[in-house]
Symmetry: C2
Subunit: 226 residues, 2 copies
């Protein structure tokens, strides 16, 4: 209830201009109470991320129980995300500038977002592991994270998509699923594995929260590995 | 002069809150005069993009005249961009939300940004063509556009980079150059070419300005090709 009120106020007045006091007042609770449940505005956003992740985990069940091929599994996972996120589209467009900064705690790549991010990557771990796709053992860790990164690309596109029913993003989701599945299938060739690993390493070295609790990013990134 | 004044005001007061009238007054010209040279605020930003592109074209000359291998050529092109753009970093961080929307005329992917974009892609065409890298004939068009897209990824990272001298982005530039050069070198394998082509097609179908004057994007994107 506090969370719903906060999301509505963020949408109406903007994240920066909404105070915890205003959220508490609108939700009909004391300010102390609001702070008790959510330590700050930032925690409210993390609560929102956690909720989206949980709703997504529920929404993917039918497709992951039904499909065995990687491409339809991934397409279903993407489409389910679009279903779950649709009610928040207006909020997301308005909120985007706060989340786009990788150093912000509100970034999907931040250490603070790790619980929501891990829940989201878990979906992709299951998407891959439950599929017929063959992946080299050394890539079984990185590939689901790359699949999640492609979902983040999709989210970026979705934020700005004004088409009716997000039909453009829905088409992009199907195309991305096909391409990603093809990329995964090509990764069985030994020739390509170093490239996949290096791309993954680049993301983990340069996105602050991607290093599993060891952010490399206060003013600096890990030195390049030769 | 009008352009410098405009960039300063955009930085100080924000793009949305700066009027052409205020720009003209600060620049010491009549409002009519400002409109004569730049039809709108948006044209001022396009003028800024054109200038960055022209400065970049000049700044890459030494490295493109000196290096023959693709990796150092591309690394030099990225580093030169960071040199040229540095004075505008503060403006870019503030301006980002206007340019991030692919449907905005101020997006680097918009039809309106085509002249600046083509100038930027030309740098990558020369970077590839003048290198020792072997590329299949069918990929000679797409590959420089993909190289430019990797530069756009770098720009996105740079916008939010608060490290001293953008040292993080400078390291990312070298890593990206190495990865991109390796990807280009792998594209000589016949096996991979369809994937490169499909990734490129995905970008041209879904980014409004990438279709060379035939934007597919008013409310819809091109249907997926089977």
């Amino acid at each position: 209830m506090i969370l719903e009120t906060a999301l509505r106020l963020f949408r109406e007045k903007g994240y920066d201009r909404t105070t915890m006091r205003a959220i508490a007042r609108e939700a009909g609770v004391s300010t102390g109470n609001a702070y008790y449940y959510f330590g700050s505005k930032e925690h409210l956003v993390q609560g929102f991320y956690d909720r989206i992740a949980a709703e997504h985990q529920a929404a993917v069940r039918p497709v992951l129980d039904r499909e065995r091929e990687l491409e339809p599994r991934l397409a279903g996972v993407f489409q389910a995300w679009l279903d779950v996120a649709e009610p928040y589209h207006e909020f997301a467009a308005q909120f985007f500038k706060n989340a786009a900064d990788p150093d912000s705690p509100l970034s999907p790549f931040s250490p603070e977002s790790e619980p929501a991010r891990e829940a989201a990557i878990d979906v992709h771990r299951e998407t891959l592991a439950g599929s017929t796709a063959k992946v080299a053992p050394e890539l079984r860790g990185p590939v689901p994270e790359m699949m999640w990164l492609s979902q983040m690309g999709l989210v970026l596109y979705w934020v700005f998509d004004r088409s009716e029913g997000r039909v453009r993003t829905r088409r992009l989701a199907d195309r991305s699923a096909r391409l990603t599945a093809r990329g995964v299938s090509l990764s069985r060739f030994r020739l390509l594995r170093p490239l996949v690993r290096d791309v993954h390493e680049l993301f983990t070295d340069f996105l602050p929260g991607m290093t599993h609790g060891k952010p490399a990013a206060t003013g600096d990134a890990a030195p390049p590995k030769e």
